[in-house]
């Protein structure tokens, strides 16, 4: 198959690429990866919904029980109805979207942060450190993270949003550590790293000046996936009843729907809104993930 089929033969002569401004770069990237703006728009929509909820309900505290009558179907006063304990579901969902997104982002940031440090140390210095990190990651990834989190969550008393993020971070660093580590390993072999080493740069310096800037796009892309799986994990934990009981999140709403038979009693408004919101969150993150593929996958990168 050495013919034109592969498309590689059809190469245009290399012309000097005009220097683009940051703005042009971003616009160009978005045009090449249209799923990215789509995903971002959905996220903006979700935030707008949250803002709308905040402005519509007269008191933010209405996410608490006994703010209204129980099992009220949607009406002008309670556009999303109320649940079995008289929570105003608009307030609950509005805050819930925000909390769930924040929770995911926080756990994602911690996870990727830990992963980046570990991966760079392990891949750059190698030796026993690398062996230990690899072993822990390999074993950790075989165990379903939800189950590890269950073990940790039951050991923690009085869980709140921050605690929850920490619990999720306990496993969310595993996957990015593995992927970032392998990226560092390939990058380490490149000539310019060798040149930097020969020119007398020290390890830390090489990592900070040569490796990190080159892997930044990849790290950002893995933040998206890590956040998505952190949100998935948080909803799973919450559905099991291990979530923060006093903070409204989408997962806790699902948990209450299940516990108090919300579906079987026909209160469709109770489960429909959080379900749609969760699905939208996932779709948004999925689209953003697709959109950042070009950043994450060095062979696809066309701007390098």
């Amino acid at each position: 198959m050495d013919d034109v089929k592969s498309g590689e033969v059809i190469e245009e002569p290399a012309t000097a690429r005009p220097r683009l401004t940051v703005r042009e770069e971003i616009v160009g990237y978005m045009q090449r990866n249209p799923t990215l703006p789509w995903g971002l728009w959905i996220l903006v929509g979700l935030l707008l919904f949250s803002l709308f909820a905040r402005l519509y309900v007269e008191d933010v505290e209405h996410y608490r029980p006994l703010s209204a009558g129980a099992f009220l179907s949607p009406s002008g006063e309670y556009p999303l109805g109320t649940d079995s304990h008289g929570r105003d579901l608009l307030a609950v969902n509005g805050l819930g979207v925000l909390n769930t997104l924040m929770l995911g982002l926080l756990a994602g940031l911690i996870g990727v942060g830990v992963a980046t440090v570990l991966a760079f140390m392990a891949a750059y210095y190698g030796g026993w450190l690398d062996a230990v990190v690899r072993l822990v990651v390999d074993v950790g990834l075989t165990i379903p993270s939800l189950l590890i989190m269950v073990l940790i969550a039951i050991a923690v008393q009085g869980i709140d949003l921050w605690m929850m993020a920490l619990v999720i971070s306990s496993t969310s660093w595993l996957w990015p550590t593995r992927t970032i580590r392998s990226q560092v390993l390939t990058l380490k072999e490149r000539a310019y790293v060798e040149v930097a080493r020969l020119s007398g740069m020290r390890g830390i310096e090489i990592i900070l000046k040569e490796l990190v800037p080159n892997l930044l796009p990849f790290i950002i892309a893995s933040l998206v996936t890590t956040t998505a799986s952190a949100i998935l994990a948080s909803i799973g934990l919450e559905a099991l009843g291990l979530g923060p009981p006093d903070d409204p999140t989408l997962g806790m709403t699902i948990h209450r729907v299940i516990t108090y038979g919300g579906v079987i009693m026909g209160s469709w408004w109770w489960w429909l809104a959080p379900t749609i919101l969760i699905t939208l969150v996932f779709i948004a993150l999925y689209l953003i993930n697709l959109g950042t593929d070009e950043l994450a996958n060095p062979t696809l990168r066309r701007t390098a």
């Binding site: 198959m1 013919d3 034109v4 033969v9 059809i10």
Partner: protein, 330 residues
């Protein structure tokens, strides 16, 4: 003269890419005699593999055979239905690909891969007869019977290539297309595999189209050869004449680029590189690299014409070049 088994008439295979139409095979014609060994040479990207796949009607989108005729024993196979074409493959025209790499299915045994082609062409034999056929095919390509029970990863490159040849001849086709069959093998194995191919081909009585870029291999193996450049056939001649007195300047350069043992010359490459298939030069496509080109080469395209008996070439300057170096190439 032997009867013609395959006539290729004005074959056109184009690829419709987002950036324009790539004429990978443009107006290619040649005849293939019964039992003859025919070489098709060119640099990578010249369209020779596309010709091979077109003969089997295996061009995938965005590629398409745009026109021409492919007459196998007088029957135009471009007019056949897909199912009829499927039956022609292997039984009429067989392909021997570069077997050393991935041509064999890694998860099923060699026996299965020899048999399944026969089975799907209604060659319903009894178990014993099938086994006998397998053994016959294997010994025909100098392989021991045990190979039938092996998987591809247990075979050496040369052995895999022999299995591919055995598959190619299992239905006694009229034409075997061998697409760079030995390019991944080392020279000694290469030679022996070509020997096997020659014997198998003579035994079956099939004609062979050897596709490749190795002029040395061509010189040893084929009777006649065709030279392709940028989707066009620039010369078709008996192999002896090609080496003694190439007609087309491109052929001449191709021969000059082959290192010889007798001459201790500096190895000569060909100036320049293949043009982009999307922006072909006007007139003769070779003119930017041709040492003899003039305005006529840029303005008009010379059709392929019979220069002397049995020799065709597409060049304005043939007579002029002949006067320049009467002894020819090497």
């Amino acid at each position: 003269m032997k009867p013609i088994v395959l006539e290729v008439r004005n074959l056109k295979t184009y690829f419709h890419t987002p950036r324009g139409v790539v004429k990978a095979v443009d107006d290619v014609s040649f005849d293939l005699m019964q039992g003859e060994r025919f070489g098709l040479v060119g640099e990578s990207g010249s369209g020779k593999t596309t010709v091979a796949l077109s003969l089997l009607r295996m061009i995938k989108a965005p590629g398409q055979i745009e026109g021409g005729q492919l007459l196998l024993d007088g029957q135009d196979i471009l007019k056949l239905s897909d199912e009829e074409m499927r039956r022609i493959r292997l039984a009429g025209i067989a392909l021997v690909t570069q077997g050393a790499m991935n041509a064999l299915n890694p998860v099923i045994r060699v026996r299965e891969q020899l048999i399944d082609g026969i089975k799907d062409h209604d060659g319903n034999l009894s178990r014993e007869a099938m086994e006998a056929r397998v053994q016959e095919l294997l010994s025909g390509v100098d392989l021991i019977p045990q190979v039938a029970d092996m998987y591809a990863h247990q075979l050496s490159g040369g052995m895999k290539q022999r299995v591919c040849i055995a598959i190619g001849i299992c239905m006694r086709p009229k034409v075997i297309i061998a697409d760079e069959p030995t390019s991944a093998l080392d020279v000694v194995v290469q030679r022996r595999v070509m020997e096997t191919l020659r014997r198998a081909q003579e035994e079956v009585g099939a004609a062979v189209i050897l596709v490749g870029h190795d002029m040395g291999l061509m010189a040893q193996f084929v009777d006649r050869m065709a030279v392709m450049y940028a989707g066009k056939l620039v010369e078709v001649s008996p192999v002896r004449n090609v080496f003694q007195e190439p007609l087309h300047p491109y052929t001449e350069l191709l021969i000059d680029s082959v290192p010889t043992l007798t001459e201790k010359d500096v190895l000569k490459g060909i100036q320049g590189s293949m043009p982009s298939m999307l922006g072909l030069p006007s007139g003769c496509v070779f003119n930017p690299r041709c040492p003899y080109s003039d305005e006529s080469c840029v303005s008009t395209l010379q059709e392929t014409k019979e220069v002397e008996a049995g020799r065709w070439a597409a060049c304005h300057k043939i007579d002029a070049i002949r006067n320049l170096n009467p002894s020819g190439g090497v």
